[in-house]
């Protein structure tokens, strides 16, 4: 999608020009004059720490990091945080609006139940708050059993009704009467990991091919560049459609998940490859590379021990920026009905239900998964941007 190309281009673009930005000459003021020799923390700090110091200055990036961390925590502890499992539903609560949490200082939290009626003519559902129905809530209440991390059996939920059979719809009910909040929490897992796994795959492909292309140059470079060019000139939607539709029959949700991720990675690797290649091209002629070669280091050693670390922070920045692109791609695929499918729960799958006028006009809270996508993508983008700014701590 448009974001993918545009988003990561910046990293490539920075390596234009013969005067590479790695030179820490005296020309750039603070960096040049200050970060020279001297046994202070600046010069003795590892590059990783320097990047971190620099990163911390970027307030939005720090905020993004916090949000990202939280979202991944939610993904990790989804079973605990979600009040209900993915299959729990209440037929009375289809399209139920979100409940308000009331606080009673004597007895704690509670919500009111609904009485719902359906208009036989228009099929409009209407929900009346039933003041008499008071559903006590609690923290770390007993609820559905699950296995934490797939290992530890437990039945406590961060928040939930004291009686697990009572309805609690903090973010409203879905089309089928499931609790949207629980679904969003469970969906975090798939949505957040699809980015990670996909990027990991794209990373391997991109780094290997981009590295080979940039390091060896010449014909190898030419061939790989044609390949990259070729992948980029194909509109990605038909690629998705074709590949997604070609998934072998009878695949379960897990296999489908990995297949979709692979498809996303196949499309995403080109950007990374371009970044890596650009870096390699500019580094190839650096003295430390020549020096390492003269020292008798083997080529792979030169690539992996000397060249890769010198721009690993750039890579991390690029990678961070491609995760949100992947998340968006997953939602788009799901929108087209080609991604994951119910009963799998991901934000994209949840959004599939929200893509219609009915939801916009009568159940807008079903758009909440979209908000989650936006917040997460925003956070990840900020992190990536901050990392990119910080990637070269000597620069300023």
């Amino acid at each position: 999608m448009a974001h993918t190309t545009a988003g990561t281009d910046a990293a490539t673009a920075t390596d234009s020009g013969p005067a590479t930005d790695t030179d820490a000459g005296t020309d750039s003021v603070t960096g040049g004059e200050t970060a020279a020799r001297g046994d202070d923390r600046w010069s003795s700090a590892s590059q990783r720490r320097l990047v971190w110091w620099k990163f911390r200055q970027h307030k939005l990036a720090m905020a993004g990091l916090v949000v990202t961390g939280l979202v991944y925590l939610i993904a990790l502890f989804a079973d605990v945080i979600a009040p209900f499992g993915t299959s729990t539903f209440d037929a009375e609560y289809t399209y139920a609006p979100p409940q308000r949490i009331h606080v009673d200082w004597g007895e704690g939290l509670y919500v009111h139940g609904y009485t719902s009626t359906v208009d036989e003519e228009t099929l409009q559902l209407s929900f009346e708050i039933d003041e008499t129905q008071r559903i006590e809530l609690g923290l770390f209440v007993k609820g559905e059993e699950y296995e934490l991390f797939g290992l530890i059996p437990w039945d406590r939920h961060l928040i939930g009704p004291v009686d697990p059979d009572e309805p609690m719809y903090l973010m409203g009910g879905t089309r089928t009467g499931h609790d949207l909040f629980s679904r969003i929490v469970h969906g975090t897992r798939v949505s957040m990991t699809i980015g990670l796994v996909g990027v990991a795959m794209a990373f391997v492909l991109g780094v290997v091919l981009g590295g080979v292309s940039g390091y060896f140059g010449g014909r190898t470079d030419m061939a790989i560049q044609r390949l990259v060019e070729f992948f980029m000139s194909l509109p990605s939607i038909p690629l998705w459609l074709g590949l997604a539709a070609a998934l072998p029959p009878g695949w379960g949700p897990m296999q489908r998940y990995f297949a979709i991720t692979t498809i996303l990675a196949v499309i995403a690797w080109t950007d990374l490859a371009r970044v890596v290649r650009g870096r390699f091209l500019s580094l190839r002629n650096e003295e430390f590379v020549t020096a390492a070669l003269l020292d008798g280091c083997s080529r792979p050693r030169v690539i992996f021990r000397h060249m890769l670390p010198s721009f690993s922070s750039h890579l991390i920045a690029s990678v961070t920026l491609s995760i949100p692109a992947m998340i968006l791609a997953e939602t788009s695929l799901s929108f087209l009905g080609l991604g994951l499918q119910a009963p799998a729960v991901s934000w994209g799958v949840l959004l599939q239900d929200a893509q219609n006028v009915r939801v916009l006009s009568t159940a807008p809270w079903l758009m909440l998964p979209g908000l989650c996508v936006i917040i997460t993508v925003l956070a990840l983008n900020f992190v990536g941007d901050g990392l990119r700014d910080a990637a070269d701590p000597y620069k300023r």
Partner: protein, 348 residues
């Protein structure tokens, strides 16, 4: 050269960088003067604040750096000197001074020229910025300038790009640009560092010839004492944002007063000196300006440091004459001062 006022007088200049990690006192009370028609060399290790000093003159200090104190008196002709620190760095007066009255040549000639435009474009631009010339006249002058800095076939070279030229050629072009508007002062910030040795020598020769020809002053910044010996009239030795010693080139080379100067000189390989002799090195590294040691900044590396004195109180500024001074407690001794003073006085 009708009057004795120095062309440029820097007095108590403090340029600090306000970073999130703390204040970096890159230049911390530097005073120096550039007499008319003379070449003043600023020497010191990397990170001692020489470049920042030079840039402060032209108001070229980038964020988060700021000149927080001091005066830079600029007096190109008769009349009141201008304090450059009071000028708006983005204002018109400063713009006219840059390139018009004071020019600067940088360390990396290749990177100092935009690769997107021909060198002619950049040269003519400078000429037209400062001199009231038409396009054709400016072009003629540009060719003249290139010829003057020793570039063969200047008419053709005008249409070349920086990346098509060698480093030495680029530096010549930079010098041509710098001198295009006949400035009164040329600041050369390590102009030869990035060049190979033979090219270095030629550029130095060129600068010397040009100075002789135009009578301009040169503020030459370098860490290379060999270059200093070759072109300097006066020498300023800097350490960690302060001037530790000033003096005529011979005085500095033959009678260094500051232990740091001494040590610097000791680290130069000398012709004829015993081949097997080890070069002296200075103990330790230059500390980061934000971690400036208390007392004399050099004391942790100084062999002659006096415990309880050097690491406690700032060293005194001992003036031996108009152009000769040192910052060291070792010279705060009456006899030593007197003796040296006399010698210097005679020389001045």
């Amino acid at each position: 050269m009708s009057h004795d006022e120095p062309l440029l007088a820097i007095d108590g200049l403090k340029t600090h960088f306000f970073t999130r990690e703390g204040t970096v006192r890159a230049v911390d009370g530097v005073s120096l003067t550039v007499p008319r028609g003379k070449t003043v060399c600023v020497v010191g290790e990397s990170g001692c604040g020489k470049s920042v000093t030079a840039r402060s003159v032209l108001g070229l200090v980038d964020e988060p750096g700021r000149i927080i104190d001091g005066r830079i008196a600029w007096q190109p002709g008769a009349g009141e000197p201008v304090d450059l620190t009071t000028l708006d760095p983005k204002g018109e007066r400063m713009r006219r001074i840059r390139g018009g009255e004071i020019s600067m040549v940088f360390q990396e000639p290749m990177a100092s020229l935009s690769p997107m435009y021909t060198i002619g474009d950049q040269l003519i631009e400078t000429i037209r910025l400062h001199l009231p010339l038409g396009k054709e006249e400016a072009r003629d002058r540009a060719v003249e300038q290139l010829r003057r800095v020793g570039i063969p076939r200047p008419e053709e070279r005008l249409d070349a790009y920086s990346f098509q030229l060698s480093g030495g050629m680029c530096q010549r072009v930079m010098i041509a640009i710098a001198l295009a508007a006949d400035p009164a002062l040329l600041i050369a910030d390590e102009p030869t560092t990035a060049l190979d040795v033979t090219t270095q020598a030629r550029i130095i020769d060129l600068l010397r010839d040009l100075q002789a020809e135009t009578g301009m002053s040169v503020l030459f910044i370098t860490h290379d004492l060999g270059v200093v010996a070759e072109i300097a009239d006066e020498v300023v030795v800097m350490y960690l944002g302060t001037v530790v010693e000033r003096g005529g080139v011979d005085e500095i080379f033959h009678d260094p007063k500051h232990p740091y100067t001494n040590a610097l000189l000791g680290s130069i390989p000398r012709m004829g000196a015993g081949a097997g002799r080890r070069l002296a090195t200075i103990r330790g590294n230059v500390p980061h300006p934000s971690d400036r040691p208390a007392g004399c900044p050099f004391h942790p590396r100084c062999d002659a440091a006096i415990g309880g004195v050097c690491d406690v109180s700032d060293p005194p500024h001992i003036v031996f004459g108009e152009a000769r001074s040192v910052r060291c407690v070792l010279h705060d001794d009456g006899a030593a001062v007197g003796g040296d003073f006399r010698v210097d006085g005679e020389r001045a």
